[in-house]
């Protein structure tokens, strides 16, 4: 499809701007003005709208197809949340208003949203307090490990420079640990896919700052030793970080703070139904136990005894400013609305149905796909395309075959410890009928992979483009259409 820059024509413009109602003068000398106008598109409003509408049709989204992308929790994004986020009282609010004198009174509604969401998250996680500042999941991870670093620093424990990370962890965990100044040590998984306890014990010593554990783990399973792991880590003077990417599996049913975790991030764009936006913006609040509260980023919203809200900035031991203001407020707002609609009784149903749907898919597909780590799963189930690989059909091919059949593929090749991984997460918002259709498609693909593998490896055939040459993309870099 043509780029927007080659549409329209020179001299055309679609914008309707206010007329200049003051003298046409400014203070910029000619030497500091750009010589040539930036070559932005020159299209009518209709041409613009049509361009973006056509682009949108080349995308798969939750609103158009089943999207069982494992570890990403592609649940429905309720439309009321979008309406609320667009209310002018929120969307047009300047973040610096509360910093004007007496300005806190000008933003009581927004501060209430942050405060009330924070309280509910703390309750759901089993923690003392939650910072709403982190701007994404990985940003939450970074905040969490920085809190661990601050804690050890404050206790004069300067030797603790090692962060333990299971081999099944998402790549962001070691990357975040490195950005907080830690060296990482990888802990292997045992044959059941759990953290290898013996290996863990060997690595625990006075140089270890903490462990980053995904719970439930990246295989979609609940490590039955998780409490023991937290205990061992604490005994060694280290702290336990919970990567809450998979919180949808346990929300309302189990609180990570109750089983010994010290700090944890959640993804509002996963468990709390805010849109993924094709890769952000997200939001990654971090909950902490009492002993980490002093190090939380500034600012925090507090509720005064008279029921009004205020921003607090003065925390001597705070790690400082990880975000420019109060977090991704527009995203927090959507999560708040979601929690209010669901309420206590609805939240419990989220994890129940997410886990039920995943186990249903698991048992239905077991006859057709191998499982490296069998057993009851939580909110997602991980298969291997090893049986299909014997016929030359890989996880990637199965993914492309699903696209041709109108279903967004599951996550593939993650976690890395599973060969030819296919990770399926249906979420609680899919109907049984759609789940049954997906199961049937997966069975059909498995059968076709056996009888006529070429019919799978040739996929996709129905998409705007066929498989793309990624090697050329990296070698002959074409990252922008310049003027």
């Amino acid at each position: 499809m043509e780029l927007i820059y080659s549409k329209g024509k020179s001299g055309r413009h679609g914008s309707s701007l206010p007329k200049l109602d003051v003298p046409d003068a400014n203070s910029i000398p000619d030497s500091l003005k750009r010589k040539k106008a930036a070559q932005m598109p020159e299209v009518s409003e209709l041409e613009a709208v049509r361009h973006f509408t056509l682009l949108s049709r080349k995308n798969m989204g939750i609103d158009s197809t089943f999207y069982p992308l494992g570890s990403c929790t592609m649940k429905y994004n309720p439309k009321v949340n979008e309406k609320i986020a667009a209310m002018p009282g929120f969307a047009d609010l300047h973040p610096l208003l509360p910093q004007l004198r007496r300005g806190g009174a000008l933003t009581q509604g927004a501060l209430a949203v942050i405060y009330e969401t924070e309280r509910m998250l703390s309750e759901l996680l089993g923690f003392s307090q939650t910072t709403m500042q982190p701007l994404a999941g990985a940003h939450g991870e970074l905040t969490g490990v920085m809190l661990i670093a601050a804690y050890h620093k404050a206790h004069g424990d300067k030797k603790r420079k090692i962060m333990l990370i299971p081999d099944a962890a998402h790549g962001t965990n070691p990357a975040s640990a490195a950005m907080a100044g830690f060296d990482t040590v990888t802990i292997p998984s045992d044959p059941d896919g759990n953290v290898d306890l013996d290996a863990l014990k060997k690595e625990l010593n006075e140089n270890v700052a903490g462990i980053m554990l995904t719970c439930p783990n990246t295989l979609g399973m609940f490590d039955k030793n998780v409490k023991e792991i937290c205990d061992l880590v604490h005994k060694a003077g280290a702290l336990a970080y919970c990567d809450g990417a998979n919180f949808n599996a346990i929300i309302g049913r189990l609180r990570p703070g109750d089983i010994g975790f010290d700090v944890m991030h959640v993804n509002l764009h996963k468990t709390f139904s805010t849109p993924h936006g094709a890769g952000g913006p997200g939001s990654g609040p971090v909950g902490v136990c009492e002993k980490l509260v002093p190090y939380l980023p500034v600012s925090c919203v507090v509720k005064r005894s008279d029921g009004t809200y205020a921003l607090e900035y003065h925390h001597k031991e705070s790690i400082g400013y990880i975000a420019p203001f109060y977090g991704n407020f527009g995203i927090i707002l959507r999560a708040y609305a979601y929690l209010l609609v669901l309420g206590r009784e609805g939240i419990v149903k989220v994890s129940e149905n997410a886990v039920l749907n995943a186990n249903y898919i698991r048992v239905k597909l077991l006859p057709y796909y191998d499982q490296q780590y069998p057993g009851y799963c939580m909110h997602e189930c991980v298969f291997s395309a090893t049986r299909q690989t014997e016929k030359g059909v890989h996880a990637l091919d199965i993914a492309k075959a699903l696209i041709d059949r109108g279903i967004h593929p599951p996550t593939i090749y993650f976690p890395l410890i599973v060969k030819e991984a296919i990770m399926i997460e249906p979420t609680e918002t899919e109907s049984k009928e759609d789940i049954d259709k997906f199961i049937q498609v997966m069975i059909d693909i498995a059968k076709l992979a056996d009888s006529n593998p070429d019919a799978i490896t040739v996929c996709p055939l129905t998409t705007p483009v066929k498989r793309l040459d990624e090697t050329q993309a990296a070698r002959k870099l074409d990252l922008a259409s310049l003027e």
Partner: protein
Amino acid sequence: MPYIPNTDADRKEMLEAADCKSIAELWQKAQIRTAPPALEHIPAGMSEYEVTRHLSSLASQNAIHLVNFVGSGYYDHLIPAAVGTMVGRSEFYTAYTPYQPEASQGTLQAIYEYQSAICRLTSMPMSNASLYDGGTALFEAIMMAVRITNRRQAVISGAVSPIFREMIKCYSSNLDIELVVVPVNASKTDSSQDALVEAVSDKTACVIVQYPNVFGTVEEWSETVEKVHAKKAIAVCSAYPIALAMLKTPGEMGFDIVTGEGQSLGIPLSFGGPYLGFMAVREKLVRKMPGRIVGRTVDLDGKPGFVLTLQAREQHIRREHAMSNICSNESLCALTALAYLTCIGKEGLLQVGNLCAAKANFARDLLLQIKGIEPVGEKAFFNEFVIKLPGDSSEIVGKMIDKGFAAGFPLGRYYHDRKNQLLVAVTEKRTREEIKAFANAMEAVLWS
């Protein structure tokens, strides 16, 4: 149950298939054996109507009625209605990161077009798919310079936004990176370029400046950039993208890395986020750049298409050796910026730039006619400028709220030696009448 379609009959059938008699048994078998929590502080569910009413009521407690002259890096610009409609297509906002390129050509092409727009605005050759915000982008630029030069010091102008500087300080705290801030003279608004160059040594990885700087002042940087290069350091500029509609570009002035806060490109203020960090770099640096990058390539039939590229830099492959831990971009915000620039267009962007600069100029002239208000610093500014008031600007701003104005940002909050100074921003949204009323209110607050 809202958003959860399983009926009791569905659940019964699915539980049977999973060989469980009840949900309780399913939890048991999935290793969840502790008692469920009480969740006493979570309220009972509300209807969509009740929630909307509750949030409308909260929204009404936010003072958006104030006529806004606060900017300080985050600006109240017009957003064409079509932007929201285009970005509101749920095929965009309900999609995930485009890992399956054949099913994500819409997002991928849009990001490629966004990268192109950033390059065209900044006059740089390469851009990434965006970062969280202007502050994180600036920190990532420092880390990039550290990787390129193997040096661990950043020289930062005191005229860079204190918000960004606080964030950089926070992120650097565990990383053995030295931050040297070059202070600015409180009676001026320029970036003390000579002192900046002076501070650069063979330890310096990069020099960080802002354009226009935090005081709104527009400066020529070309010579300073040359001097920084002569000392083998990287020159980094954090730019205000709408100002680039009119101003000589960072690319023209020779900067190596250009970052900035992209909120002004059609993204609502939304009380602090979500926003957009942009980053554009010289070609030779691209393999050290953090964040997602989209490239154009061809498919099996030779048809053009788009993919995420240079992924070997990223966390899901490089783990602790990655360029950054970032895994999302701010895709929907990047899409918004592109939609904005498309709707506004080449001509519209020039107009926005001109309107901002002219209205700011008009406002400053009016304010300086008021007894006791004095100019501060350099004259060249885009849409934001500093004035000195005959008293604590924070107090005066407090009084202006009662008159219906968010009068600007009191610089004493950032700089203890600028207590009487006020930073005033004017966008194309402010009318002649509003600006005059603002000046009148200011005069009344000061002298009656």
